[in-house]
């Protein structure tokens, strides 16, 4: 294995493209180093993307926020404006691992590791986040929900990697929330994760919603039926029950030691209802 730390997007793309699938991107390394040591991956080349300026830092402009794909979760959590605008996204990414993991782990890595249980992903999907992707053909934008195609698999072509995430500025009356279920209070992998983002008008009627579900299918899901259950309602009990039913209906989970199919399917609805309620309360407070 060789290691390179290019200083530009172009150099990184060239390195990744030239290695015909045997190069691996390194951001925070909290997944990759574990896989390297366990022998799950054996790349000829590791391309550390942390020295590329476009992957560092959090910027905001009238369009919204741009979060570099290699910014650590700890740094994102310390960004006051982003935390205020997208509390659900930030609470989701802060659930990833310990303090030590937070110091290294990145949004780019959490997404491209392509685990169905990645905590930040359902929240980013709910928030409508879009990835900036660089590659041999130039740059393109990909909605977060389109990037992962299956466990450990992404839609990135050879030579492509994620530069940054774009989040819009939330509209007035908007808020988001993320909840996950684990059998303990910290340090575990999601059995279910649910992100909800919604917008209320002056009368308290939900005009827009997005619901992201994690750990209940091969990829995190954008569940339009769940969002539609909220839109047009005042997020009352009937709407929340319809949301829960739609969330459960979208589940295609596995049975494993963390939860059975029946359990995950049922609890996905419960968590969706609770997350929507939190987002609703936050939106009313704005």
């Amino acid at each position: 294995m060789d290691y390179r730390s290019p200083g530009s997007v172009r150099d990184a793309v060239e390195l990744l493209a030239a290695h015909n699938g045997t190069a691996h991107v390194l951001a925070g390394g909290t997944d990759l180093l574990v896989k390297l040591r366990a022998g799950f991956v054996a790349p000829e080349l590791v391309v550390d993307v942390k020295a590329i300026p476009q992957l560092r830092g959090i910027a905001s402009d009238p369009r919204g926020f741009r979060i570099g794909a290699a910014v650590s979760c700890a740094e994102i959590g310390e960004h006051a404006a982003l935390s205020a605008a997208w509390p659900g996204v930030v609470e989701a990414l802060q659930l990833i691992g310990s303090t030590q993991i937070q110091g290294r782990a990145t949004l780019g890595g959490n997404l491209c590791n392509a685990s169905p249980a990645a905590d930040s992903v359902p929240a980013l999907i709910a928030a409508g986040a879009v990835c900036e992707v660089a590659g041999p053909a130039g740059e393109r934008e990909v909605p977060v929900e389109k990037l992962v195609t299956g466990p450990g698999r992404t839609s990135l072509a050879r030579g492509e990697f994620v530069l940054a995430f774009r989040l819009p500025n939330p509209d007035a009356g908007s808020a988001d929330a993320y909840l996950r279920l684990i059998p303990r209070t910290e340090m575990d992998i999601a059995v279910i994760g649910v992100g909800v983002a919604l917008t209320l008008d002056h009368a308290g009627v939900c005009t827009r919603a997005r619901v992201g579900l994690g750990a209940v299918a091969p990829t995190a899901l954008l569940v339009a039926d769940a969002a539609n259950a909220l839109i047009g309602s005042k997020v009352d009990d009937a709407a929340l029950a319809a949301l829960a039913a739609a969330a459960s209906a979208a589940c295609k989970p596995i049975d494993d030691k963390r939860g059975t199919v029946t359990y995950r399917t049922k609890v996905a609805g419960v968590l969706a209802r609770r997350a929507a309620r939190i987002a609703f309360d936050r939106a009313r407070g704005r």
């Binding site: 390394g29 550390d48 942390k50 310990s98 030590q100 993991i101 110091g103 910290e186």
Partner: protein, 158 residues
Amino acid sequence: MPKHHVTTTINGDPVEFLCAPEQTLLDVLRDVLQLTGSKEGCASGDCGACSVTLDGRLVCACLVLGVEAQGHSVETIEGMAKGDELHPLQRKFLEHAALQCGICTPGFLVAAKALLGRNPDPTETEVRYWLAGNLCRCTGYDKIVRAVLDAAAEMRRI
């Protein structure tokens, strides 16, 4: 594969070393630089025994490649005491008997120091969450948490 020449700062001192690309920072600290205070527990980022700071951020040295230290600043347990004078956290760990076998202790101390550097007056809950990535399998956590809170109180008085 040729080794990489890495220039870094460790505990305030400029340090150069050679390492293979797959060697972790923990491997380098322990096996190349003979800084064996950082321990290898799990080697997968779960136990925190190898906790160090990298540019002031608490990290697991087992989840950082040695080459990634290039141009950055690393602080390890070896930098904590000033000569024979223990850091208040080290003294309080002794006073509160917050260690038995000692394998987890360097990681707890480095992690606790990073906490108090950011938050000199943490609540017990904040201490417990901050240290959730440091595992102790013999002492139990109460004595460790009490030692950290006591050290914080003393450091606020100084």
